[in-house]
């Protein structure tokens, strides 16, 4: 299998990048597919708190850490690498990856590349589409709309909506529903993957005492997201297999 890199990012902060990376890790685990993750919230790390076994905290602006990711793609036994890009560094990282020849290798068929561009319901967030989209040549670019609050991404104004999303032809829409705040906070407090919370386990794998109601909310939410990932054939795309026919905008 060809090594695959999935970058999850946005230049804007607070749009739920790490949350979505966590759901992708849960999704892959549900498919028994191994993945490694890089947490660029250097040096503290945020993703690592939830998925410590598979996550490495890196300084994505440092060449030595860029090497830790890119130079190990071929040698790592785990072929899927997720990079959770911290706020403000998406464009910078994509440019740096261009400079080191990563995208040349992608175009040469050496690596498989996917981009999860997390969009928040703001003009600033939508403005990023123009900057980010060209790096994927429109292929495997996922416009991930994270419904962090009751929002519509300007769908009520077709002119504004079209002006942004028409530029993203070929992009794959992924809609992330909102999770109940109390359930989200409980998982934050528990510091475990969403799927572990649903199974009522703590970080040591022991039985926990999480609320049945909140676990139910998280399970339903996670299942909706998994359905959405299935719809865009995310697993096939990450494992370098042909996407099924139902995927698309």
């Amino acid at each position: 299998m060809k090594p695959t890199v999935l970058i999850v990012g946005a230049d804007k902060g607070g749009v739920g990048k790490t949350t979505i990376t966590r759901t992708v890790l849960d999704y892959l685990a549900s498919k028994n597919t191994l993945a490694r993750a890089f947490d660029t919230e250097f040096p503290r790390g945020t993703l690592k708190r939830f998925h410590p076994d598979v996550t490495t905290v890196v300084d994505i602006t440092a060449v030595s850490d860029q090497m830790k990711i890119v130079d190990t793609l071929n040698t790592s036994e785990v072929k899927i690498s997720l990079i959770d890009i911290r706020a403000g560094l998406l464009s910078h990282t994509l440019k740096a990856f261009t400079d080191i020849g990563f995208f040349d290798a992608v175009n040469a068929g050496e690596f498989n590349f996917l981009l999860f561009h997390i969009l928040g319901p703001s003009i600033a967030s939508l403005d990023e589409i123009n900057e980010v989209m060209p790096y994927t040549n429109g292929k495997n670019y996922f416009a991930v709309k994270n419904f962090v609050n009751e929002t519509s991404f300007f769908e009520w104004d077709p002119a504004i909506y079209e002006s942004y999303f028409k530029k993203a032809r070929g992009a794959l829409d992924v809609n992330i529903p909102k999770l109940n705040e109390m359930a989200f906070e409980q998982v934050e407090l528990a510091g475990v993957p969403f799927s572990t919370f649903v199974k009522n386990k703590n970080s040591q794998g022991h039985n926990a005492k999480y609320s049945l109601v909140l676990r139910g909310y998280v399970r339903t939410w996670l299942n909706q997201i998994f359905d959405e990932y299935d719809r865009v054939s995310l697993h096939e795309r990450l494992t370098d297999r042909a996407p099924s026919a139902r995927s698309g905008r």
């Binding site: 109940n180 109390m182 049945l212 109601v213 909140l214 676990r215 139910g216 909310y217 399970r219």
Partner: protein, 252 residues
């Protein structure tokens, strides 16, 4: 593992006799020497909590914190039975939530057996939704309740497939009608139905008088009716208990 039971009393429409049945089950359990935990989901009328102010918890199902208070309690191991009065206003919400969070499976794993009581109305959709409810929770004991005071549905409804299918359900109880003159007497929230059945009667708060005690005729009519109802509840609860035991013994 010994079974504890949660009796969920529901109906699709209002005025079906839900709160009356929830109250009757609670009083039956009290007469049997148990101290049931009661949950009243009707934040508008609050009738059940009015009858049992010290043992009933009022639950607003629109609030997540209250949903947690209800279901997290219901799923926890306990020695006392529970009775939940599901208002028709929250019928869909309650059962949707119950299904979404996987309450029944987890409750059963922890030795709690949910039992759904579904009261029939005359409206046609009562039978359609009843079938759907039974199908959704086919692992739960499902008791169809025919409240005689509600009357029979129209002939067209009785000839419908849904009516005929649902009415063939095996676990059914009949709630006999009480003379309307006395029916209003027992609506008094201060009248403890379990206290009324004790000899000598007990349970009225100091300074409160119930019409149930005022005449021999009322006393006899209400007592006779309560005996009949308690016999029917006792029969049903025993059947449910036996079923749960059989399920436990069933090879995996």
């Amino acid at each position: 593992m010994p079974k504890n039971f949660t009796y969920i009393v529901s109906s699709l429409h209002g005025r079906a006799g839900k709160t009356l049945l929830a109250r009757l089950i609670a009083d039956y359990l009290i007469l049997r020497g148990e101290s049931p935990d009661l949950f009243d989901t009707d934040t508008v009328e609050k009738k059940l909590s009015g009858c049992f102010p010290s043992s009933a918890t009022l639950i607003d199902l629109d609030k997540v914190i209250n949903q947690m208070q209800l279901f997290d309690t219901l799923v926890a191991p306990a020695s006392a039975p529970r009775v939940v009065d599901v208002t028709h206003r929250s019928f869909s919400k309650f059962f949707h939530l119950m299904e979404e969070i996987g309450y029944a499976e987890e409750a059963r794993e922890r030795g709690n057996e949910p039992v759904i009581f579904y009261l029939l109305n005359r409206e046609a959709d009562t039978y359609t939704r009843g079938l759907s409810l039974r199908e959704h929770f086919k692992d739960c004991s499902f008791v169809l309740v025919d409240n005689e005071a509600n009357g029979r549905p129209e002939r067209a409804v009785q000839l419908s497939v849904d009516y005929m299918t649902l009415m063939r359900h095996d676990l059914q109880m009949k709630l006999p009608a009480l003379d309307p003159m006395f029916a209003t007497v027992i609506e008094d929230p201060y009248l403890s139905l379990s206290g009324f059945m004790q000899d000598p009667p007990a349970g009225m708060p100091p300074g409160k008088v119930s019409l149930a005690y005022m005449s021999l005729e009322a006393r006899n009519a209400i007592r006779g009716w309560l005996k009949q109802v308690n016999g029917e509840i006792g029969r049903l609860l025993e059947m449910v208990r036996l079923r749960a035991e059989m399920m436990l013994r069933r090879p995996l």
